[in-house]
Amino acid sequence: MSEKRKLSVAVNGTSYDEDVEVRLTLADFLRHQLGLTGTHLGCEHGVCGACTVLVDGLSVRGCLMLAVQADGTEITTVEGIAPSATELHPLQQAFHDNHGLHCGFCTPGMLTTLLELLRDNPSPTETEVREAISGNLCRCTGYQGIVDAALDAAERLKDGGGDSR
């Protein structure tokens, strides 16, 4: 039960070499071993999407992947999205401007999922946005603010990513 292995990962651009228990989930590794508590756990069975992080650019449920499976990868969590300590990423800014979050618990997973969408599809339709976050549950917003934020962010990113309002 206490078998450990070496794990080398880059998280938000910082390299880590850690000993981890083989049964430790990626989400628990990020949260409790690295202290990156922005990734949240809502169901721990792969439905709610709150724990979504990007592993080598692809969205992954942090609760369904073991930390050891991430060996050699580059991971982006919510803490790695903003360009600096004082600025927000255009997607984060769009969430703020469109009231895309209430309690904020599902938000990290929404942001990572939508980052992937907007990278792969810079001009999504509303339907495409809704489908992209169909695996992310939000209990507060009714999704409308989130969808509006994603569409708004797409426009901002096309305009060069800055403050284009």
Binding site: H40, G42, C48, C103, G104, L137
Partner: protein
């Protein structure tokens, strides 16, 4: 008190102060708290709906390396004055006291009831060990269905009990039987209403820490009501208020069940005291399904009497309400249902008998809406029935029965649970209905429906009106304090569960103290910050905390201006606060170059030994208010929904959703819209998706989010919002609560629309939620009748 409806910041779509930390992943939720030496807990829960506990063997569990303790009730008792959490709201209608025990003693009465706890180095180890705690159960028969539980010979939910009736009460007014005997029409229906769980995306959790140096026990808990938790801990632990502090961190949604004080909160507190180490427990989703309170089942038998013009003469009937195995809150939920059945309509005579049935299931307490959605569903379904039977348009039937705007305030001869009169204080119900109907294209719908049917498509439209009592008193505390830093600090007993409380209070306070919300800090839900506090529930904070904040900020403003006038040697009426400065206005609206900072005023009022305070006022720059607001402010509105039903699969797609609502003066339209939208999403779930299923033995069948369906982004339609603002006369802000409004009309309007879509099959739905298989079955029954 003059209220600036649209002021410097009031009434404006101020973006939330809460957002930046949440967006950066820097917020601190309960599971983000990590203390040196902290241990983690896992609970051992009953797998049986009803059983006697013969013995507990923790030998194997304790042998696991990293396990520090395995505790059962006997182990806790040296630390407890009583094992019972006595939390039931007062009522003369109880027949039985059924309080939860910190851990089960000799008997378990629902699947998920905590029996023991393992405390270990981490949760992985604690969960390993929890599986090795062997409990010898003697399984007893269970009562799962609340109707059957009240029948003669039903198995008792609690061993040895004389029946399962937890409470019973009657409510009503007028000459009901006379109204029925003289009625032109009487229609009867039976309704089966079900609401599931809250399912905040963050589950529950708590962290206990005993500081030996100060002998203070701190419990961080994801709770809507930390002051309630404090009082329960004082009672149970026998420690005084100075030895316990309950603090809420950021909360990932509440929706009702987090207002309850739970066994885990007590057990974690005891474990922290006992072991001398911080202890954390975080609920997982499966535990949430079997241990966090739910709203579940109500069965209604109701008759409506009308005259020959479809005007309501009377309502009468009975409710059987599923209470679950224990009283975790009280009779409030079915009380709300029975109290709110007449809704926005003139009902001359009314009588309702309500029975609360114990069942071997998770205790029942309010989920967002708290019994009101069920009542709104029933009255709206009855009015649809009247329309159908009398061959009238559904809107026409409502127009003949809605309370007109000029009748406000409208007193209904009913009493709230606290014995207060039910007074609908304000609102234009017909006006709201008209607005919603116009936006939804009600008049043109018949043509759209005909065209769709010609294409073989079944579309329908439905409506539902509602009123929702909000801002339940008696008060919420707010302290406003200007610090020597120049920052304005606001403290409240209300908790922030995602609804934007900090922004809302900052706007109210900033309106009078400089107009800059960024100069305001807001502390919520900390028993060390406010001695009193009620907490978050019943769409109450904007009304109660908002009013206290408004009055407290006004008092602080007055003092600031008096002292600043003394310091600047000018009349107070020539001063205005802008940002963190007090300026002299040499002409109205023009700022002269003379000012003093808020922080300087606070410094002056902090006092200097031997020197006289300026301004001729008392020391400090703060005010605390607990404005008493006993009567509820009634929000109101109308939902109109258009759906398409696939008659082969029973699938329902919402094509259009309009809600017109009135929550009085709007403090922040962004937040209000967000609350209505979020509530609507809950309501859509209650109409179409959410079903907390149990089998006949009380075994829960839906214990993950793949079996229990929450509304996702694809199912959720874009909702059109219409606002009316009828100021409530009951508070100086003229506000009403909004948190639950979206939920209340949703299932009634959606089911009405499904009925309308399936009119060719003569379908009349009397349940919510309704699933695709239910719809297919109803269509088939209809076909056989045709």
């Amino acid at each position: 008190m003059n209220w600036p409806v649209k002021g410097k910041v009031m009434g404006k779509p101020i973006k939330r102060l809460e957002d930046p930390e949440l967006l950066r992943g820097e917020a601190r939720f309960i599971d983000d708290i990590s203390l040196p030496g902290m241990l983690e807990a896992a609970f051992v829960r009953s797998p049986h709906a009803h059983a006697e506990i013969r013995g507990i063997d923790a030998t194997a569990a304790k042998a696991i390396p990293g396990v520090h303790a395995v505790l059962a009730l006997d182990d806790l008792m040296p630390y407890l004055e009583t094992e019972f959490l006595v939390v039931g709201l007062p009522s003369p209608s109880y027949k039985q006291d059924r309080n939860r025990s910190a851990l089960a003693g000799g008997e378990v009465t629902h699947v998920g009831e905590p029996v023991a706890v393992v405390i270990a180095d981490d949760r992985y180890i604690a969960e390993d060990a929890a599986q090795l705690v062997f409990i010898d159960y003697d399984i007893l028969p269970a009562a799962a269905d609340c109707r059957e539980a009240l029948a003669d010979g039903a198995p008792p939910v609690h061993k040895g009990a004389d029946g399962n009736l937890l409470a019973e009460f009657n409510m009503g007014y007028g000459e009901v039987d006379a109204a029925f005997s003289g009625a032109a029409h009487i229609f009867q229906d039976s309704f089966r209403l079900h609401r599931g769980g809250s399912h905040s995306i963050e589950c529950r959790g708590c962290v206990g820490f005993h500081d030996r140096a100060t002998d203070e026990l701190t419990l961080w808990v994801s709770s809507q009501m930390p002051h309630s938790a404090l009082r329960v801990l004082v009672d149970m632990l026998g420690r005084d208020e100075n030895q316990i502090r309950v603090v809420t961190p950021d909360i990932g949604g509440g929706f009702g069940p987090k207002l309850v004080v739970y066994q885990e909160d007590v057990v974690v507190s005891v474990a922290a005291l006992m072991l001398g180490r911080p202890v954390k427990w975080i609920e997982d989703r499966r535990e949430h399904f079997i241990s966090t309170t739910q709203e579940r089942d109500q069965y209604w038998e109701v008759e409506i009497a009308t005259d020959d013009q479809a005007r309501i003469l009377g309502l009468r009937g009975s409710i059987i309400h599923d209470h679950g195995a224990y009283t975790a809150r009280g009779i409030n939920l079915p009380q709300n249902s029975a109290e709110s059945l007449p809704g926005p309509y003139e009902v001359p005579a009314y009588r309702m008998n309500t029975k609360l049935a114990l069942t071997n299931k998770v205790p029942v307490t309010p989920v967002r809406g708290a019994g009101h959605p069920q009542a709104a569903f029933v009255i709206e379904r009855l009015l649809d029935r009247v329309a159908q039977e009398l061959g009238l348009d559904r809107v026409e039937v409502r127009n003949r029965n809605l309370i007109p705007a000029e009748a406000m305030p409208y007193t209904r001869p009913l009493k709230t649970r606290g014995g207060l009169a039910v007074v609908l204080d304000s609102g234009d119900f017909p006006g709201l209905q008209n607005d919603a109907l116009a936006r939804a294209g009600w008049k043109d719908f018949a043509a759209r429906q005909e065209a769709a049917r010609n294409e073989g498509r079944y579309i329908g439209i439905g409506l539902a009106n509602f009123v929702k009592g909000t801002g339940r008193g008696p008060f919420e505390v707010v302290t406003v304090r200007v610090g020597t830093s120049g920052k304005v600090h606001v403290y409240t007993g209300g908790t922030a569960i995602g609804q934007g409380t900090r922004t809302m209070l900052a706007q109210i306070v900033a309106e009078q103290l400089g107009g800059d919300v960024n100069n305001i800090t807001v502390t919520t839900g900390d028993t060390a910050a406010t001695a009193l506090g009620i907490g978050t529930s019943n769409s109450r904070l904007a009304v109660t905390a908002g009013t206290s904040a408004h009055v407290a900020a006004g008092n602080v403003r007055e003092k600031v201006l008096k002292v600043a006038a003394s310091m600047l040697e000018c009349p107070a009426q020539d001063l205005e606060i802008e940002g963190d400065e007090i300026h002299v206005m040499d002409q109205p609206g023009r700022i002269a170059n003379v000012s003093v900072k808020l922080g300087e005023v606070a410094h002056a009022m902090a006092g200097t030994p031997g020197y006289v305070l300026p301004g001729g006022v008392g020391p400090g720059l703060e005010a605390t208010e607990h404005v008493l607001l006993d009567s509820k402010a009634f929000a109101c509105g109308t939902a109109v929904v258009e759906v398409e039903v696939d008659i082969e699969t029973g699938g329902v797609k919402i094509l259009n959703y309009v809600i017109a609502h009135d929550c009085g003066n709007i403090i922040n339209p962004l937040l209000v819209d967000g609350q209505v939208l979020g509530g609507t999403a809950h309501g859509i779930g209650n109409a179409l998706y959410e079903w907390m299923a149990y089998d006949d033995n009380g075994q829960p069948l839906t214990t993950n989010l793949a079996d229990y369906l929450l509304v996702g982004a694809v199912e959720m339609p874009r909702v059109e919002l219409i606002h009316q603002e009828s100021p409530s006369p009951l508070n100086p802000l003229g506000v009403k609560g909004v948190g639950e409004c979206g939920v209340v009309p949703a299932s009634g309007a959606i089911i009405s629309a499904i009925d309308d879509a399936l009119a060719p099959f003569g379908v009349h739905i009397t349940q919510a939620p309704i699933s695709p298989p239910d719809i297919v079955a109803l269509i088939e029954q209809g076909r056989q009748r045709l």
